[in-house]
Symmetry: C2
Subunit: 336 residues, 2 copies
Amino acid sequence: MAATHEFKKPFYLGIDLGGTNIKAGVVDDSGKPVSHVSLLTEAEKGPLVGLANLEKAGRWAVQESGVEWSDIASVGLGSPGPMDLRTGCLIDPTNLPRWEHLAIRDLLAQRLEKTTVLQNDANAAAYGEFWAGAGRGCESLVLFTLGTGVGGGVIERGRIIEGRNSAGSECGHIIIDFNPNARMCPCGQRGHLEAYASATALVKRAIEGLESGEKSILEESTKSARISARMIDEAAQAGDPFAIRLMDETAYYLAVGAVSLMNVIDPDVILFAGGMIAAGEPFLNNIQRKVRQLAFPVPGSRCRVLFAELGNDAGFIGAAGWARAVMMDKSLQMSK
Amino acid sequence: MAATHEFKKPFYLGIDLGGTNIKAGVVDDSGKPVSHVSLLTEAEKGPLVGLANLEKAGRWAVQESGVEWSDIASVGLGSPGPMDLRTGCLIDPTNLPRWEHLAIRDLLAQRLEKTTVLQNDANAAAYGEFWAGAGRGCESLVLFTLGTGVGGGVIERGRIIEGRNSAGSECGHIIIDFNPNARMCPCGQRGHLEAYASATALVKRAIEGLESGEKSILEESTKSARISARMIDEAAQAGDPFAIRLMDETAYYLAVGAVSLMNVIDPDVILFAGGMIAAGEPFLNNIQRKVRQLAFPVPGSRCRVLFAELGNDAGFIGAAGWARAVMMDKSLQMSK
């Protein structure tokens, strides 16, 4: 339990629903987390158990925080998509089988007896960074989250670009190679950024290279264990030429994606998040250098390209922040 | 002079500044143009002559409209970029040499003694379609203008995505081919949509094909005249296989660009404008079909893909509409 006197009222409850875990936390009015809990989603047990777990995680986070339940102004929920943000319903989330068409926002609001807003998980993470992370003080931001896929979030003058069908900000699915032999994206289309620059894609490219006879210290690693993005980065940092090339190509793909969005959104800052940013400063510097080479001079020199700061907390912090933002300005949420 | 009783007060003056011509018109409160005049820019004579011509065009348009000068609520000016929308200054517009760093907004406002807003010409055209053209009734829209280059305009929930450095909505400069052998864009970077899908790029691809020995009825045309996008389309409509392939590839490139932006903006409607839309229904249907093939199911089936409706009037109508929008909601304009 934290000492609540360091924090600024009112408080918001943020919940980040994932396929495996639910993270929840109370966040104060300035974006500072007061508590943080984690619980298994048990998604496979279906939506009723899941909803009970969401409620449990939320109530537990408030209990942990020492904040009175009545001092929680509202609740934000970040969830995997696709969803319909207007009605607050999930559609058919891949990571939550059997949760189809669940009116998740209103059902959770009923359980918690609090106004609840729903947001796409990647958008929520972007909003977290915007409010309290590497994008604080900005007007606009683009976030790429590099993991199994490439998640995206775009904030433009304080508003999340949700899109007319709640399908906006899918920055991993811009087409960076239109050629017929372009890589297949897990979504089933070719040439998407995600097909090149996710952690999964990096590993796939490494395996393909090794199978086609590339020499690398990674050959040894693959014998004993499944190869990971982390291992490729470590091999690169140890000077392995093949791994260096893989990381360099990844930086290039990310710069291509960043510059395409720079030319559309022209944001204050472009952020990269997710496991792959463990590659650290050399990787970031490489992306920054390539962005400057590919960008128009003015946005290229002014737009900051950075790693995100909130790690796995971005989701619940951002969900809480979005609940706060909507409370302060109802027009942020689309209604029709 | 039009009968002003058919129109709805207040009136707005829209001016569309181009490298060759200035178009100006009075537009009523519902987006209906009351008058329309055109004047040479005389850009080469420098900014003082140009400013005098802007004033002249504006006053002439009002005179033509029969609307009292005092009934003009405010003025919107669309101009080629790059510019700084916050300060209302041009930067170094290619089409307006010697107009560098001109405080065009405030100088025109002084001359006309009216509140004046500045907007990028492509954004103004997008706003015109949004307000009174093929996008009326929408919340969000993406416009591609196919001409010498590929211009772009993005409107998201009624706001133009101007960008932090007034460099947003440059939809022609998303990267659709990251490969090192990708086509060079007139902007100096490779692989941009504009390098493949502008009218100029279409002609360039045709000439390259003919030079490399493609058989086509276009060979005859090239002997007597310079080849044009229109001629390629006509050859395609006459059944010429090479020309059909060129138009089909163009439709594909445009679909790739449209889908990338669909996955970021998820707008109500994606529009194509400019000379190339003279290719008509078969070309539009081809783009629509390819968009549906490349898009996610929900936005792919819901987002309308259409040709723009306002032709060359989109610029001044949109500039007037933006003046009106800013008058009604100051927060639309970025101030810092």
